[in-house]
């Protein structure tokens, strides 16, 4: 078996300051990897480098493509990378507005992604869009409303539907539950976990919420000052942290 994603020595500097340094990991099919760390630790920089939104200074991001097997995403041509971003990859932004088209109806937001990969039959597209809205618990009578008319939690769920409708194999998520109240978070976590299992998705989730990674991620990577300070099984890293920073992070969580 080959890893779905193999990250090798990814490094990014902003001028003299280190964004992220020499990051290495393999992500296997069906695995969910959490990346935690405080603000400014480099986790979002790393996610942007992995997902092709930012060019790292050094390193390789090798993705196991359907057609040609493992290929370094960073050396792909722009159209190839865009095609990948539309088909096998998905990116769920922290702010749903960054991942949605606010002037297009909910159904259109989902259907547009299908059209981008070649769907042309209007009735099929609409039926599939409605099916996906249902999966993320948005009722059919809202299909023609624009996302502007949705609550924050609904927008986030719509963004997830838009991203997953094309059946990607790898999903990048940047603080997917950030800014949502806890009851909505729980609903979203439940939804994400179900989808990850049903679709056999692999995911990389950046968050600063340790409770979220405990429930969603199989493995965990802890970053500080642009460096990975600790990696391992999620429950092992949280229950028996080895690095001083991770120990501080875990012991700083407020108990409810």
């Amino acid at each position: 078996m080959t890893p779905l994603l193999s990250v090798q020595g990814v490094t990014k500097h902003y001028g003299a300051r280190l964004g992220c340094g020499d990051v290495n990991f393999d992500l296997w099919p069906g695995e969910v990897m959490g990346i935690v760390g405080e603000s400014g630790s480099g986790k979002s920089t790393l996610l942007s480098c992995l997902s092709g939104q930012l060019a790292p200074d050094a390193g390789k991001v090798v993705f196991d493509t359907r057609a040609e097997g493992p290929r370094d995403v960073l050396t792909m041509s722009e159209p190839e990378r865009r095609m990948l971003a539309r088909t096998d990859w998905a990116f769920v932004h922290q702010n749903a507005r960054d991942g949605l088209r606010m002037g297009v109806s909910a159904g259109g937001n989902v259907g547009e992604r299908l059209m981008a990969v070649g769907a042309r039959n209007y009735a099929d597209i609409r039926a599939q869009a409605i099916d996906w809205l249902g999966r993320v618990e948005i009722s059919e009578d809202r299909v023609d409303d624009r996302p502007r008319a949705f609550s924050g939690g609904m927008q986030q769920r719509l963004q997830i539907a838009r991203n997953l409708v094309t059946g990607p194999r790898l999903v990048f998520m940047d603080e997917p539950t950030g800014g949502l109240d806890v009851s909505v978070q729980a609903r979203l976590l439940d939804l994400l976990r179900g989808l990850v299992r049903e679709m056999g998705l692999s995911a990389v989730i950046v968050t600063h919420d340790l409770a979220v990674v405990r429930l969603l991620a199989d493995r965990l990577m802890v970053m500080k000052g642009g460096q990975v300070v600790e990696t391992g099984l999620t429950d092992q890293v949280l229950d028996d942290p080895q690095h001083g920073y991770t120990q501080l992070l875990v012991s700083s969580v407020l108990q409810v």
Binding site: E31, D190, R214, D218, L233, Q247
Partner: protein, 227 residues
């Protein structure tokens, strides 16, 4: 099935003056298929620590922890994940689940994770929940709102849903009434009969007497108090 040799462990508290606390030294034991071994020793002797190391929840400092043919002390995370899905079950003292997920799905999950069908998972979950006397009207609700004893029984149902070849049980009969305690002991006996290797912590001496073949006193693995 489970073979532990010369395992040691210390905790290093980096934020508290880098204090080093040795908690285990030279731990060795083995458990054959169909055998149930009890870990005994006073509170703080390291029973739970040893159990957590076998599950890969705590990192072993040194030594070998073989479960089947995987050395948990050295395995990659994904090897341990596979081991936990297919081979090694763990009933902890506390239930930890995604809020909002119905009890029936919580219990069926290990069956699906091990590759079973949704139908089998549900059937097994129904059978176990009924045996453990969880009222059927609660099955569609999330266990997060259940009483302590009910959560404990859901946790047990979850632990026995898939026929794991190796099982770790942390106080499975604590906080249970006599009827449910008897059900749990029967579940343990059935697991032994199908060949599961079991390591358990039981404060309930009568339960230990009934289901365990041997006792291992972990105080023997406690490092001599350093200063």
């Amino acid at each position: 099935m489970i073979r532990i040799s010369d395992v040691s462990k210390s905790f290093v508290l980096h934020n508290q003056g880098s204090a080093v606390i040795p908690v285990m030294e030279g731990a060795s034991l083995s458990v054959a298929p169909g055998e149930c071994v009890a870990l005994v020793g006073n509170s703080g002797a390291g029973k739970s620590t040893l159990m957590r190391m076998i599950y890969g929840n705590y990192l072993a400092g040194a030594g070998r922890i073989m479960v089947g043919d995987v050395d948990v002390a050295r395995a990659e995370p994904r090897e341990i994940l596979t081991l936990r899905r297919e081979v090694l079950g763990y009933v902890s003292q506390f239930l930890r689940v995604v809020p909002r997920v119905p009890t029936l799905e919580v219990v069926a999950e290990p069956v699906l994770a091990a590759g079973g069908s949704a139908g089998n998972g549900e059937a097994r979950a129904r059978e176990l929940l009924a045996r453990l006397n969880i009222p059927e009207r609660l099955w569609s609700l999330s266990p997060t709102t259940f009483s302590g004893g009910e959560q404990q029984r859901v946790n047990i149902a979850r632990g026995f849903a898939h026929g794991f070849p190796a099982l770790l049980l942390d106080e499975p009969t604590a906080s249970l009434d006599a009827t449910n305690r008897a059900v749990v002991l029967a579940l343990i006996e059935e697991a032994k009969a199908r060949g599961a290797a079991i390591i358990g912590i039981f404060h309930d001496a009568a339960a230990r007497e009934r289901v365990c073949d041997r006792e291992i006193d972990v105080s023997g693995f406690t490092p001599a108090r350093a200063a």
